[in-house]
């Protein structure tokens, strides 16, 4: 099979899955839609592997293949085509996306089993995977924008999946609105690029960027900054990050797939793909690095105080994406993308395990109410530990190699990027701490009532189903979570999925051990061949070694601190909270970003909307145009109606007047 066909098949499998489930949902009994969805993604994964093999069989120089389906607007001077670009970077991304998605689909088959919206879920999920694959496979800016928008739409649909919950729908709207801001940035950035280089096709643009722009050209920097706006919105970086914690209102598999492994990594992919542009406009790249750094430390500080299980993991995602953004913006492409892959593995694993834990708590996500689940849920506990160790960066787990590689590269840049490295290490300490805070609090200590019930073999079931955030009562009909909850210990498919990810989290790091096995680096060479930094920027052996040791030490230190605070001296955290009350308040309020955005953006917009309604709509449109025109017509017709007075002599006068006028006309015209 030709590589182009394989590329298109990767896209077509999830699309077919969506259509089949969406149109034929009535005919699909029981869990059939779940299996169809999973099979579709499995098909995409198989095609991705075949694409990889095909790509490897090509010569080293011919590894960037463009497959064109058709031309959209050849005559307008814009080369808008339906084309996909198959090269190492996109193959890497489709492998990660389809692989992790397949496992999450498998997990969801059981997890969402008792939900009334089961089939809708899988249709949406398949649509999302299709959009994400379209985004990463796109060969030109137009398809990128299409995929970008679809992914945003799928995210909205999935976040507000339980649509009768007002918290879920407002979260969905918030995510969508912020994503749209990013979309605008992306489109405007594309315009700048198109204007400068005259093309939207990737390879043509990258070839033309040297001639079309000077280094740090104003237009190019503007375009790249706008692209960054898009990346930041999608990847939940400061200041467009406020949607990600609220997006945890969606079902756990959604959080695992979209908000850990795939959608939020779209920004990282974007920066890596546009590397010729960013290397030519280092100012924009620096902005990206700074924002990434800022995000990672900010999110890490918030994660320490948050008490909702999924939100802890969400902030951790934000922080890790910050690492990736920082990495690719500092031109450490392999490191950043490597971290993307390992993060996908262990973050999805963590979310899956969290889903299992929440299932045991009958939908409650509050960490304050969980404790002592170690005996009751050993498999989940094991999954959490493996994921947590990988996240914290403990050798030899995958997260260790990837995170420390990024920090080594930023140190190798040798100018002010050192600051980024330092901040990165501080955040690494915090990462280990908050991760294990989560694990120790949930699994150690005296078992909570739910854990005790589970130890006796009985899954806790709440009599009244309530919204965990607001406490309002919900029924388990469509639009709300289903009545049953599923945990990993009891569901085979969940175990398989989590097991596979756990294995990957453990061994995934061996693909790119710095200085030892540089598999990924060699793999990416064709894509980054035109980059100045790809080959030249490399941390020295000493730097790498120091970095690795420092990283390992900090993560173990973090785990130790967590152990001390949450296992040994259980009263300490409360005491610390009292002493540092102000700091605690700031962190719990998420550095007041929501309030700032509300004040700076939401209020003016609401004011403008009210103004538009009261003044413009009411006065101009309604008053002037609508009432005005109808009033004018009415007045005119009243004036004409006055001529029909009913008086005979009045009519005759008019008649005579007309005759006189006519005669006058004829007299004058002769």
């Amino acid at each position: 099979m030709s590589i182009e066909l394989l590329g298109w098949l990767v896209l077509l499998f999830p699309l077919a899955g969506t259509i089949v489930i969406a149109l034929g949902w009535r005919a699909l009994p029981g869990r059939a839609s779940g299996w169809i969805g999973t099979a579709a993604i499995a098909g995409a994964f198989v095609c991705s592997i075949l694409t990889l093999l095909e790509l490897e069989s090509h010569g080293h120089e011919e590894r960037q293949i463009v497959a064109v389906a058709w031309d959209y607007a050849a005559s307008l001077g814009v080369d808008a085509q339906m084309s996909i670009l198959i090269d190492p970077l996109s193959v890497f991304m489709i492998l990660v996306v389809s692989g992790v998605s397949m496992l999450i689909h498998l997990y969801s088959v059981s997890y969402m089993g008792s939900d009334e919206g089961y089939r809708r879920f899988f249709a949406y999920l398949n649509f999302f995977v299709f959009s994400m694959l379209l985004l990463v496979l796109a060969g030109n800016f137009l398809l990128l924008i299409v995929g970008w928008a679809f992914v945003g739409a799928a995210s909205y649909l999935l976040i507000s999946f339980w649509y009768r919950r007002t918290t879920a729908t407002s979260a969905g709207i918030k995510a969508f609105v912020i994503n749209v801001v990013g979309d605008v940035g992306l489109v405007l950035g594309t315009y700048f690029i198109l204007d400068g280089t005259g093309s939207v096709d990737y390879l043509k643009v990258f070839g033309a960027v040297e001639e079309s722009f000077s280094v740090n050209d104003g237009d190019l920097v503007a375009g790249c900054l706008l692209l960054l706006v898009g990346a930041f919105a999608k990847s939940a970086q400061v200041p467009l990050h406020t949607w990600l914690p609220d997006a945890m209102e969606g079902p756990t598999p959604v959080s695992a797939l979209i908000h850990a492994a795939t959608m939020v990594t779209a920004g990282v992919y974007l920066i890596a793909r546009m590397h010729p542009l960013f290397e030519h406009a280092p100012t924009a790249a620096d902005v990206g690095a700074i924002i990434g750094c800022l995000t990672l430390i900010l999110a890490a500080t918030i994660a320490i105080v948050v008490t909702d299980v999924k939100r802890v993991i969400a902030y951790s995602t934000m922080s890790q994406i910050g690492y990736m953004v920082m990495g690719v913006s500092s031109f450490a492409y392999t490191a950043g993308l490597f971290h993307l892959m390992t993060h996908a593995f262990f973050k999805a694993l963590l979310f899956m395990a969290a889903g299992s834990l929440i299932g045991a708590m009958a939908g409650v996500q509050d960490l304050d109410r969980m404790s002592g689940f170690r005996k009751a849920m050993p498999f989940t506990f094991g999954a959490f530990v493996i994921g947590g160790l990988a996240l914290a960066g403990v050798p030899p787990f995958s997260g260790f190699f990837s995170k420390d590689e990024i920090l080594a590269y930023t140190a190798a840049r040798e100018d002010w990027h050192i600051v980024l490295t330092v901040v990165g290490y501080i955040a690494a300490l915090l990462t280990a701490t908050y991760t294990f805070r989560l694990i120790f609090r949930a699994f150690y200590g005296d078992p909570s009532p739910e854990a005790r019930e589970l130890e006796h073999g009985h899954l806790y079931h709440a009599e009244e189903h309530t919204n965990p955030a607001t406490g309002e009562v919900e029924d388990t009909d469509v639009g709300f979570p289903g009545p049953e909850h599923h945990i990993a210990e009891r569901e085979g498919s969940m175990k398989i999925a989590m097991g596979a990810l756990a294995v990957l989290a453990i061994v995934g790091g061996f693909l790119q051990i710095p200085k030892v096995t540089e598999v990924l680096h060699h793999f990416f060479e064709p894509t980054f061949a035109n980059s100045e930094y790809f080959e030249e920027l490399e941390p020295s052996g000493t730097l790498t070694a120091v970095g690795l040791i420092l990283g390992a030490a900090l993560s173990l230190l973090g785990i130790a601190i967590a152990y001390a605070l949450w296992v040994r001296e259980r009263g300490r955290p409360a005491a610390i909270r009292q002493r540092a009350g102000f700091v605690h308040r700031v962190l719990v309020n998420k550095w007041y970003f929501d309030e700032i955005l509300e004040f700076m953006v939401v209020r003016p917009s609401a004011w403008f909307g009210r103004f538009a309604r009261n003044t413009f709509e009411r006065v101009v449109v309604n008053g002037l145009l609508v009432v005005g025109t109808s009033g004018a017509v009415r007045a005119g017709s009243a004036a004409v109606r006055a001529a029909q007075s009913g008086y005979l002599r009045y009519y005759v006068t008019l008649l005579l007047g007309g005759v006189v006028a006519l005669a006058l006309y004829f007299l004058l015209s002769t």
């Binding site: 005979l648 002599r649 005579l656």
Partner: protein
């Protein structure tokens, strides 16, 4: 006497008749004024017949007389019907056809 005089007289009568239609309120008198106008037209027609030397104008005038007679018959019939219905014989009062 040039024939212009006759036509001028006809114009005078026509204008007087038109003015009469406008200022009188009694429909009978209005009909009379309409008769005036018709007669003025007749005069003009006969004058032109004399001018051209053929009798077409006179034939036309006779037909006009026929039409006038018919119109008078109907008009007076209307007025009689109005009177029978006890309606006021005043064109200013009879204005139901107003919009």
């Amino acid at each position: 006497m040039s024939l212009t005089w006759y036509v001028v007289v006809s114009a005078f009568v026509f204008a007087i008749g038109a003015g009469g239609v406008l200022v009188r309120r009694n429909p009978l008198v209005i009909l009379l004024c309409i008769e005036l106008m018709l007669n003025a037209a007749n005069l003009a027609l006969v004058a032109f017949a004399r001018a051209h030397g053929n009798q077409d104008g006179q034939v036309f005038a006779l037909i006009v007389m026929v039409v006038a007679a018919c119109e008078v018959a109907i008009g007076l019939g209307l007025i009689v019907a109005l009177f029978r219905q006890r309606l006021p014989i005043d064109v200013d009062e009879l204005r139901e056809l107003q919009g």
